[in-house]
Subunit: 364 residues, 2 copies
């Protein structure tokens, strides 16, 4: 694991790196340990180099014996207690292939989602959200139909749509799926509708039954709300592809302390089985820069044991006029998520059509 | 909800507050909304005042219609998307009593844990952890026995102890519970042993069966690892009291962006049903200041609908010489967690005895 350490004057980077190695494993100082424990369990500082100024890069390794086969314990060792310190940022995470063999990861991944859509390799995909919260199920379903007619590949619930009285889950999901199926049956699409199933454990099961009954194959989930392992369990069933939403994740993205975006969204979210990961695109209303956005995409697609690659889903700030530049930046294995700008257009279907065509690289 | 906004030169605090109200509910600009949605769903900026310098305090209210009855959606509305912004810190969270009526909260709370221990109101409790990871189950159980003989009220697993080969869960937990029961049967204690059940969903169920079978009544859980709702479900069963560990929470505690410690550990952790909440004490090896530590304790114990009050469990930096000062700071409804300093002593049992006696306010 690589950590970026920020050491104000007087802080010794070597001592800080060593303290991490002990804190994240034995939680005891060296003097309280037997040589056996030091040799087999305590993390090791492999290297330490200056990054200029007050910053240092520390490479640590942890024995598999400290982690076991458990993803949650990996997270705990990676950043559990030291989250409560300051000036420590995880910038890389490398896990041995033998350990990865226990981690199934995405059940669909890029190829699986393409198959659900019949979308050949080499073309990027489009996604848009139905919104806002507050509209009735009927009104949301109408927007769903307009987006599907516009040729959007995946129409998803806004992540704030759960089971509010304005559009209760069952009613909303049935009507939206119906609207999409009507368009598909008429020869459009195919468009997939992805309902948000983020909920408490029992409610999520109930909602997944509805989803199964009406034949949806893609769902939206916020991992930091439902919990890491809930996503893993859902992915392992292999019934629905998972679009992971970054709600709450931004707390980890401070530039001096936390977990780097590409590690968090590109590695951790993939390890738990996300088939596609939503995140803010540079230039939108959230402060992400272009290199970070590209790094997340790279992590999601790069080799990682036997895990399937997952789709990056950058959203926001994707202006149609520069679509070729966006395609060049992210490459074809990308789901482009269009944000609220679609709803500022005078005609939703027409705007969706321009966006979907732009993403396909063809004139609208 | 109160947010502390940090607005660098050029940032308009009123615009920032208003953007939060829209971002956290409808995720659309005002111009894309019907008056009905604006009136019933969008958050409202109730007040905005300068805190001096670049800081502002914005009080926002959100309609219950935007949240429904769901704790996860409360979290989502509170900080979900804006976590990805910068300079926004949640400093207060007030929920209506009617909404709280759906939230059971802690099943044991302060009175319930006192009852398990037969510890009368008015005296503080002591807790110590068995460590380090890497020792065998037998060696850990031996330490467990020493701590129990020393008179520690609750002996808990170190939170990094899961199911590693050095001390597999079943073996460790059986031997530790046995060690504690032996001391209790000999007229010591009573001491409660609290195993760490933090694990993936299926594993956690398996471990809870072991816990049930051997008669443990208290467990340790890391909510940010197992997931918010997993704690809620466990609490609702009412079988075991829950000590919540702050692993990963520190990512939220940046002074300009995140969720204030007292809101996170004192309100959110209590809402999901933690009976006691572990957090770093000022003066230990983590950067928490005294007012923050006291604020967490106050939140855990203050009236909150019909929810039971929960124990604060400050840990680290609690030196025996100043025990009266610590008792004065935190009050008797506190579980004092002693960290690694116990293991630096030449005799663990004796050190435990001094600590336990100090916490009881009696000479050791």
């Amino acid at each position: 694991m690589d950590y970026q350490l920020t050491c104000p004057a007087g802080d010794d980077p070597a001592a800080k790196a060593s303290a991490i190695a002990y804190e994240q494993t034995v939680e005891l100082p060296h003097t309280c340990l037997t040589p056996g424990v030091v040799g087999t369990i305590v993390g090791r500082v492999e290297s330490l180099e200056s990054m200029g100024g007050a910053r240092w890069r520390a490479r640590l390794s942890y024995p598999v014996a400290a982690i076991g086969g458990d993803f949650l314990q990996l997270l705990n060792v990676l950043f559990g207690n030291i989250s409560l310190q300051r000036g420590i940022r995880v910038t890389d995470l490398v896990v041995p292939d033998a350990w990865l063999a226990n981690i199934p990861g995405p059940s669909f991944g890029i190829a699986g989602i393409r198959q659900l859509l019949g979308a050949e390799a080499g073309r990027a995909l489009s996604c848009a959200a139905i919104k806002p919260l507050g509209l009735s199920a009927t009104a949301l379903a109408q927007r769903c139909g307009q987006l599907a007619r516009g040729g959007i590949d995946i129409v998803k619930d806004d992540h704030g749509l759960v089971d509010q009285p304005s559009a209760p889950f069952g009613e909303r999901v049935e009507r939206c799926q119906e609207a999409v199926e009507r368009v598909n049956a008429a020869g459009g699409g195919p468009t997939l509708y992805a309902p948000n199933v983020t909920a408490t454990a029992d409610e999520m099961e109930r909602r997944l039954e509805v989803v199964r009954a009406i034949g949806c194959r893609v769902v939206l989930v916020s991992p930091l709300l439902v919990g890491w392992d809930t996503v893993r369990v859902l992915a392992a069933r292999g019934e629905v592809a998972i679009l992971a939403h970054p709600s709450l994740t931004g707390a980890f993205f401070h530039h001096e302390h936390g977990i780097a975006q590409d590690v968090f969204l590109g590695v951790l979210f993939r390890l738990i089985g996300s088939d596609a990961v939503i995140y803010p695109n540079a230039g939108g209303r959230f402060p992400m820069d272009a290199p970070t956005c590209v790094a997340v995409a790279r992590r999601l697609r790069q080799p990682l044991g036997a895990l399937r690659p997952a789709f990056p889903m950058p959203g926001g700030g994707i202006d149609l006029d520069r679509m070729p530049a966006w395609l060049a930046r992210y490459g074809p294995d990308t789901i482009f998520l269009i944000g609220s700008s679609l709803y500022s257009a005078p005609d939703l279907e027409q705007a969706a059509n321009r966006f979907a065509a732009g993403v396909r690289g063809s004139p609208g």
